[in-house]
Symmetry: C2
């Protein structure tokens, strides 16, 4: 089996060959084609959003996705959460000497499928190789540029009393899928990661809700619990969540019970939390449910008048508990 | 001594503390301040350049610089080589558990100094931590956005017969500095890396030469030899270099002799190769020499009529040899 050599990252002819055969063959487009120091891109009118994320997920492949799909989806989602239409993506690989070229090809195939699904373009990239033991297979950094249309203004500070809190489906799937893969756990119903690019779903939300969409967040590291705490802190209003309304797959709940995790704090990679005026909530929910990534969209809570910035959960048994922000992610290398 | 823990990368309160104390304390600005998923930036009129690079240099600190200065300079330079004014930078850290916080602080101090020198703004970032042994201290990815002014059009294809080839100073300094640090070599006159952000120097070149500046390249991995070969291949003209004119510090030449390296292929991180019409060469050289990073600027060759895209070197002893593109970088993890 052919494997990555140090010389693949040296910038010479082996690097060129790798980039031509593995990267350009998949992602080729006029902006990427020159393989020059910088890509030249055209931006439509609007405010520009810029984001970056490195992906170090372990294992590289898991049920429902891999680091390639994750690296594209995560950065597309960061742009979408700013209310931006994701347009251009950079793709930077740090490869460990010895990585099988077939594994790298599969990761890039998966990234390419996510790129097409998201309707974005990879315009620039970089490849570095480090010696065996100096990295763990493959790390990927993606940065992204998007443009925010006139009339869109999402910010956690805009969340206001009476606003509805919506989510597009079940929580905790990504974290449990990773944990299961890592620990070799198997369940009767295996859990797949929800990793997906949400640009299209978010566009539908913004079209339905317009300016009454106040905030968008993707509950990745730290899960739903963390982003709702962040919204409450930023807008300085209390938020109440209904535990009974929060969708958790039974197999995810079961795995969490087994592992001592709270699904509220488990990472997602294909979920969006929408905070919008109550008046448009039902219209937005309808739009979400019409999208393949939003079929199980549901309202899970509301912003209250209280100004302590505190989050409470009405539990399934009718009690009430405070939701605190987590100290740290329960699982390392979840993304 | 305090060290990086896995929880520093978990996205929870320890991550927030690290980002506040180490990143925002240095790079804070209105775009970075919200620490949201994406930064919102304003771009002036002009074509937009977008670039990315990961830095895996070993060791993290070397004479003349460190990975922090390198990560800012390298990405600023990639934008500058497109003829763009570098504006916004992303900063993504992959940290190994156990990295000393003081070492990280020193790296970020150095990055901050380079940011100020380059006149750019860090607007977004990311921090991931991997367990001990899964990375090598610290990897940094920076992406960058710049804007190309009206009237600027640099591309290797524009190099034309008669054009002068200029360089802003001695070659091979970065590669030899890294190699010396890594191998524990010491020389009577220690070699310092040339790592520096070249945005200001390139702006001076473009102001002096205008549209007659045809191509700009930074001879990083693969060195001067590689970029000149790439220019020749792209413009489909032969290029002749004068070995006697190419500045090489005696201590760099000495180290290369000892290590069996050819300075022509050794990496630089603060050099620019300018290809411009002969008519403006002297004006451009004067402008370069007036800049602190171009005091030793010199003409080292010219584009010929020949259309084979071949590079030849007139050697110091009056001979002539073909310069081939390197197979790969001679040293891994040079940047």
């Amino acid at each position: 089996m052919e494997r990555i050599l140090l010389a693949h990252g040296g910038g010479g002819s082996l690097t060129k060959q790798l980039i031509r055969d593995l990267v350009v063959a998949r992602f080729g487009n006029p902006a990427l084609a020159p393989l020059s120091d910088s890509a030249l891109v055209e931006l439509p009118q609007g405010r520009v959003a810029f984001t970056t994320d490195s992906y170090v997920v372990k294992p590289l492949r898991f049920r429902g996705g891999d680091i390639g799909r994750l690296a594209i989806s995560g950065t597309v989602n960061d742009l979408a959460m700013a209310g931006a239409r994701p347009l251009y993506i950079s793709l930077a690989l740090i490869l460990e000497e010895g990585l099988a070229l077939d594994d790298l090809a599969a990761i890039l195939d998966s990234a390419k499928a996510a790129v097409d699904e998201a309707g974005v373009t990879v315009v620039c990239g970089d490849t570095k190789v480090v010696e065996r033991g100096a990295a763990d297979g493959c790390f990927i950094n993606t940065s992204g540029i998007g443009v925010i249309s006139e009339g869109v203004s999402v910010a956690m500070e805009r969340a206001a009393p009476g606003d509805a809190i919506l989510v597009n489906g079940s929580i905790g799937d990504h974290g449990v899928a990773i944990m299961s893969a890592r620990e070799g756990l198997s369940f009767d119903t295996p859990v797949s990661s929800d990793v997906a690019p949400l640009g299209g779903l978010v566009a539908a939300v913004l079209e339905a809700g317009g300016d009454a969409v106040h905030a968008l967040r993707d509950p990745t590291r730290g899960g739903l619990g963390m982003v709702v705490c962040e919204v409450a802190e930023a807008c300085r209003h209390d938020i109440e969540l209904d535990e009974v309304k929060i969708p958790v797959r039974p197999e995810v709940q079961g795995a969490c019970d087994l592992l001592g995790l709270d699904p509220l704090y488990v990472a997602n990679e294909g979920k969006v939390v929408v905070v919008c005026a109550e008046a448009v909530a039902s219209k937005v929910l309808t739009a979400m449910r019409a999208h393949p990534l939003g079929r199980s969209a549901v309202a899970i809570g509301r912003v209250l008048d209280g100004a302590k910035g505190r989050v409470t959960l009405r539990t399934t048994i009718g009690g009430r508990r405070v939701v605190d922000p987590p100290y740290g992610e329960q699982l390392p290398r979840i993304c």
